[in-house]
């Protein structure tokens, strides 16, 4: 009797299994029509330059379908559920035969989610993170991520070619102990280096009969006029001349004019910590003047969420800010399309009292986003190959523009986005619609294509980026290099204390909670908190980087 029952269960199970297989086969098939038409031309494009090694860069990467678990923080503008809904990844799966099982972390920037993931110790095959540039090497040195150097030599021809052509990039990416731990996002074109630049209400300037502000004094005059001149014409002085969501954005915009910066910067080869230098006081005094006269958002420390800033702009109260081309300038212009005059202009970085003019809010060719491979992964080689595909010509096109014929068309060799992106039939804005076709070249381990932003940016943004781009000075900015484990152990905790202390005092000085009489004590305390030792460690790391 029992054996009969057993047989029955077994046959039932077999039936269930068969059903499952049919279902998976179906879902597998449903992917293939999208993928198959263009699957044929791919090997030619990505096989260039490695005739000697047939297996490196060849597609598909694996004969039998392989699944890699990949952790990623969901982009807030993505309207779908799973990244596999993006055409670019559907197509990639068809080409590489590697399926990605996306594990989506939550949180605005994912810092906490990432830290918890790493502390848990159960790390999926691939981890994508917005600050992999520092976290990758840190955890890599602890053994969490694979040391990639040998794999890049053997299995990543596309990525290797980029590094060979850009020795500076290799220098940035390689840690002090000579290792590479992540596949980074790359900005190889100057256009992609500009991040948040000063933006101001052009229509208000015209109304107040003012020129675009050039110097720090101009900025003061303009902001004062916005405060007092009632440019929004509602009869109430409710204008907030300069809005921001934190002090960092303010200082990175105005700091360079005073020959200072947010944290570490380089002055003639000497690493300096901005708050420890005399110029920082001048900057804070100037900001305090703005704040006390109501020219700086009185609530910048409380309204730290971007939605507050958006609200201030869209209720016709905000005059100027530092912002991105897309999420600020473009989206504000879209939101204010009903406004009769709303118009924004990007300005040059302000000129300081001593004539200093530098644009400090820029990226490095080595982006901060990156993907690392878990040291415990059973498919390191395949993962490397899959990530290398992201840097192939085809991978770059997929990541930046999506699938040809769907989200873009080639017009005279130029990938033009279709109406699906810019006039989305479902009413999504361009940022949202683009993300349903691709992950975006600026947010993934690939090369950001400038032609993506060129189309995405408004004319005003293109102009502004050209204006500010000239003032980037890589010799003055501290590069995104990483410390060795020993260096990190030495400074991490000290620096955490200093940052808390700095935040508190810098904000206090700006808001007038603290008098500048206390400033000497502030500097003295920094010294007691061993800032000089920390600077020495950063100097060591910087010298080592230069010497590579």
């Amino acid at each position: 009797m029992t054996s009969n029952k057993l047989k029955e269960t077994a046959s039932k199970m077999a039936l269930a299994l068969a059903l499952v297989m049919v279902v998976t086969a179906c879902s597998g098939k449903s992917n293939s029509p999208a993928a198959s038409p263009s699957a044929s031309p791919s090997p030619t494009s990505s096989n260039e330059g490695n005739e000697g090694k047939p297996e490196a860069g060849a597609l598909p990467i694996v004969a039998d379908k392989l699944t890699l678990d990949t952790w990623v923080v969901s982009d807030g503008n993505f309207r779908g559920q799973n990244y596999n809904e993006k055409n670019s990844f559907v197509k990639m799966e068809g080409l590489t035969n590697i399926n990605i099982n996306w594990i989506q972390g939550s949180g605005a920037d994912g810092v906490e989610a990432f830290n918890l993931l790493m502390a848990g110790g159960q790390i999926p095959d691939l981890v994508a993170y917005s600050n992999m540039v520092t976290e990758g090497p840190k955890y890599g040195q602890q053994g969490a991520f694979v040391e990639l150097t040998p794999y890049i030599e053997q299995h990543a021809p596309n990525f290797k070619k980029i590094l060979d052509n850009n020795p500076e990039l290799r220098k940035l990416l390689t840690t002090a102990d000579g290792e590479i731990y992540q596949f980074p996002q790359l900005n190889l074109h100057e256009y992609n280096l500009v991040q948040m630049y000063p933006q101001i209400r052009q229509d208000w300037l015209e109304k107040l009969k003012l020129e675009e502000p050039k110097t720090i004094d101009d900025w003061y005059t303009v902001l004062k006029a916005i405060k007092e001149g009632d440019p929004n014409g509602n009869g109430i002085a409710d204008e907030i001349p300069y809005v921001a969501v934190n002090l960092q954005h303010i200082i990175r915009t105005f700091g360079p004019a005073f020959n200072t910066d947010w944290e570490f910067y380089v002055d003639n080869g000497k690493v300096k910590f901005a708050p420890y230098e005399a110029e920082y006081k001048e900057l804070l005094q100037w900001l305090n003047k703005l704040y006390s006269e109501g020219l700086l958002d009185q609530n910048y420390l409380v309204d730290t969420d971007f939605k507050f800033l958006t609200e201030k702009v869209t209720t016709d109260r905000a005059g100027a800010w530092a912002g991105w081309s897309g999420s600020y300038m473009r989206s504000f212009t879209d939101l204010m399309s009903d406004h009769p005059t709303f118009k924004l202009v990007g300005t040059e970085p302000p000129v300081g009292p001593k004539g200093e003019q530098r644009f400090g809010f820029h990226a490095w060719p080595l982006g901060t986003v990156g993907v690392a491979i878990s040291a415990k992964s059973k498919h390191i080689e395949e993962a490397v190959k899959w990530l290398d595909f992201q840097y192939s010509e085809e991978g770059i096109m997929l990541n930046n523009f999506g699938e040809e014929g769907v989200s873009y068309e080639m017009v005279d060799g130029y990938p033009k986005f279709t109406d699906a992106v810019f006039n989305n039939p479902e009413g999504l804005n361009s940022t949202e619609s683009l993300l349903s076709y691709t992950i975006g070249g600026g947010m993934w381990s690939t090369v950001a294509d400038e032609r993506y932003l060129e189309q995405y940016d408004m004319e005003e943004a293109i102009e502004a980026k050209q204006k500010v781009g000239k003032y980037i000075n890589f010799d003055k900015a501290f590069p995104p290099i990483t410390l060795t484990t020993q260096q990190n152990d030495k400074v991490a905790s000290l620096l955490a204390d200093i940052r808390t202390y700095r935040d508190e005092y810098a904000n206090g000085f700006v808001m007038g909670n603290r008098s500048f009489d206390e400033y000497d004590r502030f500097v003295q305390q920094l010294k007691q908190m061993k800032i000089e030792e920390i600077i020495a460690v950063y100097q060591e790391a910087y010298d080592n980087y230069l010497g590579k």
Binding site: M118, A119, L301, V302, S493
Partner: protein, 322 residues
């Protein structure tokens, strides 16, 4: 009875011991359904409260997530030393104690006073109305409460506008960035949110007082004030003592979630407590060992306080947790 006898006498006859054991066993069998109901609770404490204690040893190690707890190197009291030498040590300790003290001094009696006031009300409908209103805020999510607070307390928020309108202040006060306001906002809103809910337990204790006591007192000519002091308060004193002990046991645990929702770097000076410091350093900056040391230090203080207060209560008030 038997158990007491067994404890007090060193030379316990075997017969008696056996008797005790048998009695215990019989008691378990008799009340088995109660014990079965107890199992999930015990499991909960083992899984979520006792097992994680093992993790506290990372306070004495240089915990690297990928090495795991076992393989991370021992460093002794390095992290404790670092914490005690830290610039922030005195400050976060002071803030934690001060905020807790405020909560204890202003928050704890508030619930008792509300309960006593409600108890004196003769109109039952009005009493229930007030009671419901007072405990409704308890059901509002903390995030929402903090969002409301920030909104109301803005320079152009409702509170500033009202104060300006009635002429109490000449200039709007930016409450959220002024350190001197933080504790008041924090403790005040805490009382507003919890006073009604906390008073329920006292109301329950009040209903347990024998009405004949009041009648007797009235006959003896005691007024309502006298009745409250001589009957009501002594009647709920055991409840007050127990709750006070429990509150003091949590003395060093300031709800850091609310702190994090309300503070910013301009108010760290009065707002940063051990809990928020641990959160920042541990979760945001991933210094696990250091924060485990800080957390352990906090727990040790809490435990010591709990034992001390319990001893005191046993001696002075003859009612205690154990």
């Amino acid at each position: 009875m038997n158990a007491n006898a067994a404890k007090s006498n060193n030379k316990v006859p075997d017969r008696l011991k056996k008797g005790v054991r048998r009695a215990t066993f019989r008691g378990v069998i008799k009340n088995r359904s109660l014990y079965i109901m107890l199992i999930p609770v015990v499991l909960y404490f083992i899984v979520f409260h006792y097992k994680p204690m093992y993790g506290a040893i990372i306070a004495f190690k240089d915990f690297k997530p990928f090495l795991g707890i076992g393989d991370s190197p021992w460093v002794g009291f390095k992290h404790f030393q670092q914490f005690f030498e830290s610039y922030f040590f005195v400050r976060i300790l002071r803030n934690t104690i001060v905020i807790s003290l405020y909560q204890l001094i202003f928050g704890f009696p508030a619930a008792i006073i509300l309960a006593l006031l409600l108890n004196e009300l003769k109109n039952q409908i009005f009493k229930r109305f007030v009671q419901s209103i007072s405990y409704l805020p308890h059901f509002i999510s903390l995030v929402v409460v903090c969002g409301m607070l920030i909104d109301f307390l803005q320079p152009d928020g409702i509170i500033n506008r009202s104060l300006l309108a009635i002429g109490v202040i000449g200039e709007p006060i930016n409450f959220m960035i002024l350190p001197e306001w933080f504790r008041i906002i924090f403790v005040g809103s805490g009382i507003w949110q919890s006073v009604g809910w906390s008073s329920i337990i006292f109301l329950a204790a009040l209903s347990g007082i024998n009405p004949s006591l009041y009648e007797a007192a009235a006959v003896d000519g005691a007024g309502r004030w006298r009745q409250m002091l001589s009957i009501t308060l002594p009647g709920i004193m055991p409840t007050i003592i127990i709750l006070l002990i429990i509150n003091i046991g949590n003395f060093m645990v300031v709800g850091f979630d609310k702190i994090i929702l309300l503070y910013n770097s301009a108010t760290y000076e009065t707002a940063d407590v051990i809990g928020s410091f641990v959160f920042r350093r541990g979760i945001t900056e991933a210094n696990y060992s250091f924060t485990a040391a800080v957390g352990l230090f906090n727990s040790v203080i809490n435990f010591t306080l709990l034992v001390l207060v319990n001893q005191l209560a046993k001696k002075k008030a003859e009612s205690s947790l154990w």
